[in-house]
Symmetry: C2
Subunit: 320 residues, 2 copies
């Protein structure tokens, strides 16, 4: 018998001869647990799974948007019912089972689980074990996307996966001259890329834009956030969607205001151009999008509204 | 060993001497299954669980809104990225474990599961068995809220629960004179109420507005949708939320436009007054709301925007 609050209190009451029994307790104990963090949907014959890595709370809004005042940023947060002083950022990876291959996009922050670090756990909850991942593809090399490539012991979390990296991203972060010339605050980023990938150069496939990763999945140029930032177009039958990763941070803020420059974008003007180009394509062609930093499950549609785009989560349904 | 697509194909390939083996198959088979339809969050020390009953597709927009043109309704749908000709309506019940009592609000459509009828199944997935429900409280007596009270064999689905019904709702639907004078199309509604509740008059508690159901949960007058439509205020510690059931249908349409009269509202003007009163209170006091017909998990906050209110889903988090 497991020890629950009820059995403990029942024991206490029994010891006191039941004279001091507390209030009636519900037959069902408190859980303390959230549902598993995955959401499955179909694109043609493919099964797609949004995978919750977790959330992190970031103090806001000081300097969060380079070209907007703190007051304007606070007003944008208030529109979403969010407090002015902090933003809870969500991290959502994506897996696709094409029938022939399981492709995982990005790896989450890594770590042993908790507030973040839950990609592998939630993938397993969805029925796919780490060894079942055939291809591990990356949007870019920021730490919240590659931290989960290796466990604390240095072993690959997804041991059988071919690793697919954007060619331009690899070229930038593996360039020692760029690392040596980078500002001190950026050097940790270069070092993490080396820690995660340097010993696997022979295993890594460097992926060019507008080329297929596997049948039905194509890498799409989406640079600006980083030099090699890449989206992935996923097509099956007459349906398609795009994993757009970090073309926005929270789309309720940055799809709504595509000209805003979040501090995370390395080339702000290029990031704006990419954001507008892909959001405009998605709105015009009604392409379902999965963002990395939208509220979980982080997948839906954008609708053009004035100079921006409203992000509408896709409907949660219990049948695929 | 379970029979999967892979083992079947492997067997076929083996029978053919492997000469006719098909394309490589992913190590993980297709799932065909959605995640369990529950989402848990806390209000003070209470655990609250949004429970997905399912969805139903309704042809739109002919006559859906009494006082808006079909073109205006279509435009409202387009803002949400929805097609003009149909609306997928979500049904979401709510359970609260106060520690002393498990209280379930509404019952879903009933049936054997499938597109709808999944409240008990999803409650069990959240760790609460049907027999663990202590109090079964109802917002009102429309079929999508009381259909799940009894199984096909006539037995109560939640056999140990005290049944709590709004006093004014019971008075209306149990009035034989009202049933006899009702238009033919409404008689089925009266009959369903009798089928679900008439043999339990002795077991049912008739609940007055502004009175506690159990400690921490209070019935709130919210009539108009039906004569006894009731919301429930849930308070623990310094937090509170409200289960507002059908004060709107899809809040992206009707919280945004509180003057619109959906065909489901029995007293349209009274429904408007209730909608505005409760939405205004929730926006002013930042009270978390759970709607019955919002997209799952159907819980979040409303923010005043002009003459209406924007519904913002609460953030999905993997920790409570």
């Amino acid at each position: 018998m497991s020890i629950t609050r009820r059995t403990v209190l029942a024991g206490t009451a029994a010891a006191a001869g039941a004279a001091l029994a507390g209030p009636a307790l519900a037959k069902a104990p408190m859980s303390g647990q959230q549902n598993a963090g995955f959401h499955r949907f179909k694109i043609g014959s493919f099964e797609v799974i949004a995978l919750h890595d977790g959330v992190a709370v970031r103090d806001m809004p000081k300097g969060f948007v380079r070209n907007a005042s703190d007051a304007d940023v606070s007003a944008a947060f208030a529109e979403l019912g969010l407090p002015a002083d902090k933003l809870t950022i969500t991290f959502t990876a994506l897996a696709v089972n094409t029938g022939d291959k399981v492709v995982l996009f990005d790896a989450g922050n890594g770590g042993a689980g908790g507030p973040v670090g839950n990609v592998a756990k939630n993938l397993a909850a969805a029925g796919i074990q780490p060894g079942d991942v055939d291809v591990h593809a990356f949007s870019h090399f920021h730490g919240d996307h590659i931290g989960g490539v290796k466990a604390a012991d240095g072993k690959l979390v997804f041991p059988n996966a071919e690793i697919v990296v954007p060619d331009a991203e690899w070229a930038f972060w593996m360039d020692d001259a760029k690392m040596n010339n980078a500002p001190e605050a950026m050097k940790g980023g270069f070092q993490l890329v080396r820690k995660q990938f340097a010993d696997m150069a022979g295993k890594v496939r460097r992926q060019s834009w507008e080329k297929e990763v596997v049948p039905g999945i194509t890498a799409i140029q989406a640079d600006g956030h980083t030099p090699g930032h890449t989206a992935y177009l996923i097509s099956s039958g007459n349906q398609q969607m795009m994993f757009v990763a970090d073309i926005t941070n929270h789309p309720g803020i940055f799809a709504r205001r595509p000209e805003w420059q979040a501090i995370f974008d390395m080339d702000p003007q290029r990031a704006i151009d990419t954001r507008k180009r892909l959001l405009d394509r998605a709105a015009a062609d009604k392409i379902r999008l999965s963002f990395y930093h939208a509220p979980f499950p982080a997948t839906g549609f954008v609708v053009k509204d004035g100079a921006g785009y409203d992000f509408q989560q896709a409907l949660w349904q219990n049948t695929l």
